[in-house]
Subunit: 284 residues, 2 copies
């Protein structure tokens, strides 16, 4: 999908949120925002929102000298989610339709805030989110698509969330699917990298590859040959979150998008309301 | 008060909201935002939020060729508020303390702000806001200050709101205060100008002067000699809204600030929560 004018104020908000994870010094925060404003003049809007916001994270790293601003938060989110893992697995196993429950759990992982101090709310929030129906639900089409031996490429999103994804991957593997999980090649926002796949046990469940770049979602001009081969060979692609949706919607392939619409632009593109969650099939 | 890093994303949001009142063409909206980003590089943060956002409105006018983007909304807001006038006057007159009710009504009028993008429902919000106590209420100090013959300078804010102000001005005049109402010298956001003072009958109630510029709030380096003389001669200054607060807080004078905190920065400066309304005395 193409970036919209609304993405521009959002870039500055993202930049401020990100630099704040590194420093409280207003002068440094302003330097990041002014850097971004200079860069914006040269940026084409003829790109995805994900690609448009990519420079935000480069600029924060360059100005602050911190290569991975979300490093601590990523580790904390993984740890918080791992601590919940046995309980989440039990929750899914005991559901009338465990696969469906695992999909809803993976969606919940895309929504909840795993920041520290949320532990009490976490349990309640996950249970509540799992009961919430999808605004668009192509679960039946997905079920028909799940033939043993088929190759499923699972495009991961955030840290913490990856633990929730792990449960869904286990259920897909148990059904005979040949699943490959995808992480980013380097730090970008709080997205999972190979380290996080190892830390959360994903690498023990299925093969894990990286996109080939540390771009938000999939930057198709910069992906590795390995990723490209797998993407074209996949019978199904399960794509989590905003970044993967923004960069994959309309691409050739048999996609299942699983995400919460966290801004009006993505909600419009999905044909749902802001804040709604979808499991949407799109075959091109 | 000084601008904060948070003001920068807000500038872009304001710019987008404002250009949208003029055109739906995304390319023009982007041109405004890119213009703003180029300008931002040269802007000092050592100024008030009001002064920082001033270029937003200049850029929208320059890029679109529309000098007064809110012209239609301003007329509509005045008309909507004038249509409510008899009912509002009755509401105030029948209150146990009409002056206090008129102050609360004038505060309620401050919710009508098209600049930052708040949706509003005039009748519902007015009734609700009038019942809401001020988070900081210096009404008693104000009462003690209201001696007949004293000069009160009333710094107006938005169109529509000016009709609400008119009721308060009438009550102040009835108490023997010598009131002068202040409008902007030219269009800026949806602020009242001399035309609006005439259209809403304010000029029949008390003398009306203009600040000397079409800046948001009071740009003290650009005010007219007439405004400056009146500001220094005033025994009390009643300042409505964000812009006047941002540009007058900390200035010498006997100020009563009447506003709703519409952003976190102003809420912090006032020591209240976002969305709360204050009637705050500050004498320097």
């Amino acid at each position: 999908m193409k970036a919209k004018p609304d993405c521009i104020p959002c870039l500055f908000r993202q930049a401020l949120n990100t630099v704040r994870t590194v420093t409280d010094v207003p002068a440094v925060q302003v330097r990041v925002l002014k850097n971004l404003s200079r860069r914006l003049g040269r940026l084409s809007m003829n790109r995805t929102p994900a690609a448009l916001s990519q420079p935000v994270y480069e600029i924060v790293s360059r100005v602050t000298g911190v290569k991975d601003p979300y490093a601590r938060q990523k580790r904390e989110n993984n740890a918080a989610a791992l601590a919940m893992l046995p309980r989440l697995e039990r929750l899914v196993r005991r559901s009338p339709d465990p696969l469906k429950a695992a999909i809803h759990l993976a969606a919940a992982g895309n929504i909840i805030d795993l920041g520290i101090g949320h532990d009490f709310d976490l349990k309640r929030d996950v249970a509540r989110l799992m009961k919430q129906p999808f605004a668009r639900d192509d679960y039946r089409a997905f079920l028909r698509d799940l033939k043993p031996g088929r190759r499923l490429l699972y495009l991961g999103d955030n840290c913490g969330e990856i633990v929730f994804d792990r449960i869904l991957v286990e259920h897909l593997v148990a059904r005979g699917l040949v699943v490959t999980f995808v992480v980013k090649s380097g730090p970008v926002i709080n997205d999972a990298t190979m380290r996080d796949a190892r830390d959360t046990g994903m690498t023990r469940i299925c093969p894990v590859i990286a996109t080939g770049s540390n771009d938000i979602g999939v930057h198709w001009a910069r992906v590795s040959p390995e990723f490209r081969r797998q993407a074209y060979a996949a019978d199904l692609i399960l794509a989590k979150g905003h970044g993967n949706f923004e960069t994959c919607v309309g691409r050739p392939g048999n996609y299942y998008f699983l995400l919460k619409a966290k801004c009006d632009m993505v909600a419009q593109e999905l044909g749902v309301k802001l804040g709604e969650t979808v499991f949407k099939h799109a075959r091109n």
